[in-house]
Subunit: 158 residues, 2 copies
């Protein structure tokens, strides 16, 4: 029931703290976003290590993505990704129709511009998880209607 609540509340506090302690302004906003992203990165690395401890070796990139959409997402957000799409050329789009870290915000357009703050950590989370599975990527997120959210993953070929 309230299983993901401690994580959710703590996540909100982290955002408050990072934004409060820094001066306002666009440069600071960028820096805060990247702070949140790198916190997410390290959490993602740690989590995926724990989750894949006893799993079989992944067949390919798509297999890794499916694991992220199911097991990894369920561990953090207590639900699976609702839709996974790919162009089979290194771009993946993960859609979550009710993203937990946005579900406490009002669903109107009012807080749409606040959304990046609430997504930066999770972008890092995905990038960190993939990175520890040997997949280098760039992860971005976009929201059109709250609390639905799309994560776009661009694989960086080595």
């Amino acid at each position: 029931m309230a299983d993901e609540a401690p994580f959710q509340f703590l996540h909100n506090e982290v955002i408050q703290y990072i934004y409060k302690s820094a001066d306002s302004g666009d440069t600071e906003h960028g820096r805060n976003i990247s702070t949140l992203e790198s916190m997410g990165f390290r959490v993602g690395q740690g989590l995926i290590e724990r989750l894949t401890k006893d799993t079989a070796r992944f067949k390919d990139e798509l297999d890794i993505m499916k694991f992220v959409c199911k097991d990894f997402w369920t561990c953090v957000f207590k639900k699976q990704i609702d839709n996974l799409r790919t162009n089979h050329q290194g771009i993946y789009v993960l859609q979550d129709n009710k993203f937990r870290l946005l579900s406490q915000l009002s669903a109107g357009k009012q807080y749409l511009e606040q959304a990046p703050k609430y997504l930066a950590f999770s972008c890092g989370l995905v990038r960190g998880a993939l990175s520890n599975l040997g997949v280098k990527s760039i992860v971005t997120a976009e929201v059109s209607i709250m609390p639905a959210c799309k994560f776009q993953i661009m694989i960086q070929k080595m």
Copy 2:
């Protein structure tokens, strides 16, 4: 299995971030501890509100403590408090024999002096929860052998 892991990893990141961004020194250490404590306080307030939404009214202070030891602790740390003692004069001692936020540290004496960093948030958590149930308190924690931990709650009579 890894249910509490996202919370645990995020908690560790928060500690790293707060300690990294501040200068070192004793004053700063005190300030960091109180930052962590107040983050915990607000998370505790939010959580207890959600958890007690459908519960019956509490009979007395001890009844509240039992709820904190069972439901609240289970929600955050996926286990109950192992032992609750009281002098019936406003002091409660909650013992957790395997405290989750310490279980990732080595069990020797080596990191004993690091323990306060890892307990401040949880002290705030308990104080926030109690505060929202109308109980004003001072919460401190002590560790003698990792990862066991005792939280002492002193009720402040109004």
